[in-house]
Symmetry: C2
Subunit: 366 residues, 2 copies
Amino acid sequence: MGKIESVQQFLRNQDVDAAFVTTPDNIFYLSGFSSNPHERLLGLMIFKEAEPFIICPLMEVPDVKATGWPFEVIGHADTEDAWDVVLKAIRNRGYMPKSFAIEKSHLTVERLERVDQLFPGATFTRLDEQLNRMRVIKDAEELTNLRIAAELADYAVEVGCKEIAEGKTELEILMAIEFEMKKKGVQKMSFDTMVLSGPKTASPHGTPGDRKIQKGDFILFDLGVIYNGYCSDITRTVAFGEPTDAQREIYETVRQAEQAAVDLVRPGVKALELDKAARDVISTAGYGDYFTHRLGHGLGISVHEYPSITGTNDMILTEGMVFTIEPGIYHPDITGVRIEDDVVVTADGVEVLTKFPKELRIIDPA
Amino acid sequence: MGKIESVQQFLRNQDVDAAFVTTPDNIFYLSGFSSNPHERLLGLMIFKEAEPFIICPLMEVPDVKATGWPFEVIGHADTEDAWDVVLKAIRNRGYMPKSFAIEKSHLTVERLERVDQLFPGATFTRLDEQLNRMRVIKDAEELTNLRIAAELADYAVEVGCKEIAEGKTELEILMAIEFEMKKKGVQKMSFDTMVLSGPKTASPHGTPGDRKIQKGDFILFDLGVIYNGYCSDITRTVAFGEPTDAQREIYETVRQAEQAAVDLVRPGVKALELDKAARDVISTAGYGDYFTHRLGHGLGISVHEYPSITGTNDMILTEGMVFTIEPGIYHPDITGVRIEDDVVVTADGVEVLTKFPKELRIIDPA
């Protein structure tokens, strides 16, 4: 069943007349059309019993058609009220919806009030969870995109490692990575690239800066790319020069924690079991207080999407789910280390998309 | 009057009990605290008659305090319901608001429903326009930040011009600019830097790529930086080698159009008069069909903010407003040219923040 048909099926099951989708990521998921309309109206209207349409700024109509969207696309000029255009398109279908499924976690109050005005007495139910349930299971084409995005991220870390040299700054390494990615055709990184060195690795949300790489530093890369609309997200931590025993112990603890969670991934396991598996390794080694965040997050069209892999999420893993596994230890006096993979739940286990080696890489300062 | 006091004054005038602000940009404007909380709750609650508070993720409490925020800041852990924390903080003030001013163009339906649940029977009015009215007039400190942001943008264009050479790609020039900005301490560009060359200048929203610079190209830079939370946004178009007469004519038309709008800026003039002044120059020269967008947009904490400078906005300019003026001609067979300045409405005229020269710069390919 196609994605639009899945939403129509949902509408029939719930006896809701229409779904109104305005989140760019969800519109991309359902239609293949990617755009950031800023304050202008971009919407996808799906009906229980009539043909769907996309409403978009006039200048984007050709772009929607270019995606192969097989249904109606309606442009609105800056000089007209986009909502009048919506109303007309619905009336043309001989149809007045009395109930709508909307993305309550995204739709603004202002837009809800407009819809409410156009369709007096209409009722509104949530569409969010249905779209999460659909998006969380990746199909073959999505997995292909995610694999390529992960491969590019692996390569980006490799580029970063080759750039490491005494006296180079975090920003110099960062720019070299991003430049090489652009040369590979990457239009956009999936988030602000992180290159942290030395004591700065001990902050889970540090900002790369002018700090110069020194012998004895650990260097943490956290980065990802967008490929065909799909994100990767990898973290690797490497050593510049021979690490101390204390640094090695932290690294090995994180590596084992990460591997413990990866090894557990298969259909039927709960998300919280993964978090527990990694956290137990870290706590047993005595670093529990230094692992201060959740284990991971869903990955796809958004770099952070449903589901959240936490110690309290009892969602059961099923085939086709994609998420990150990224435990870390942030020790202010020794080093920070985080290792992050992107994984797919397969029929009987796990596919790890990010393949950059996880044995501690020691870069020779000589 | 301070910014918080201005909102309290508004609440008293409107007889509304509390304002609930959740947009990161507005929170930064009102409190000085800048953060992207993603899906976590970050809010600023301002009361008609009680002390305001900020609610934020627990780990951000020290950052709020570090800004000098003089009122209460309340952290919520990932394991607790942030809304219970909000309710408790309000009850502690011995106060149950019955009416709220909210940002209807930003607040999601989901969040409105939570507030509605916590305060049954409460009424909701718009806060959006009040915050727009406040933010549109920049104070001395904001203008200082905007001036420095513009100066950095001028320098970025200068860097770009120096990088131009035959055979270099758009992306190579772009990366050199951003690298130099990072060296100057710029953490973030205010939007994706644009470097377009040759025929690609004819697209108002093109994407920089692997195209190599050739003699006879025009090269368009559109970029900006964020300084202390405030954005700049400049566009300059330069020639690589001697331009043709047709290219020169388009350049001069845009330059005159831009200057006509800049020269008109002063208190009492309507926004639409600026758009008309620039558009008239371009239309008279016969290029009206190739100027396909509005004249400009407000600039401040957001790179696109209130007001929109269009042919239909009859808002009257007043002292302290900051916006862009950026006419363009996009001729598919000759070249695209856009020139964009950031301007401030002063007591009796205009201050142009971006100072990179607007006479056609011809870069010698030799």
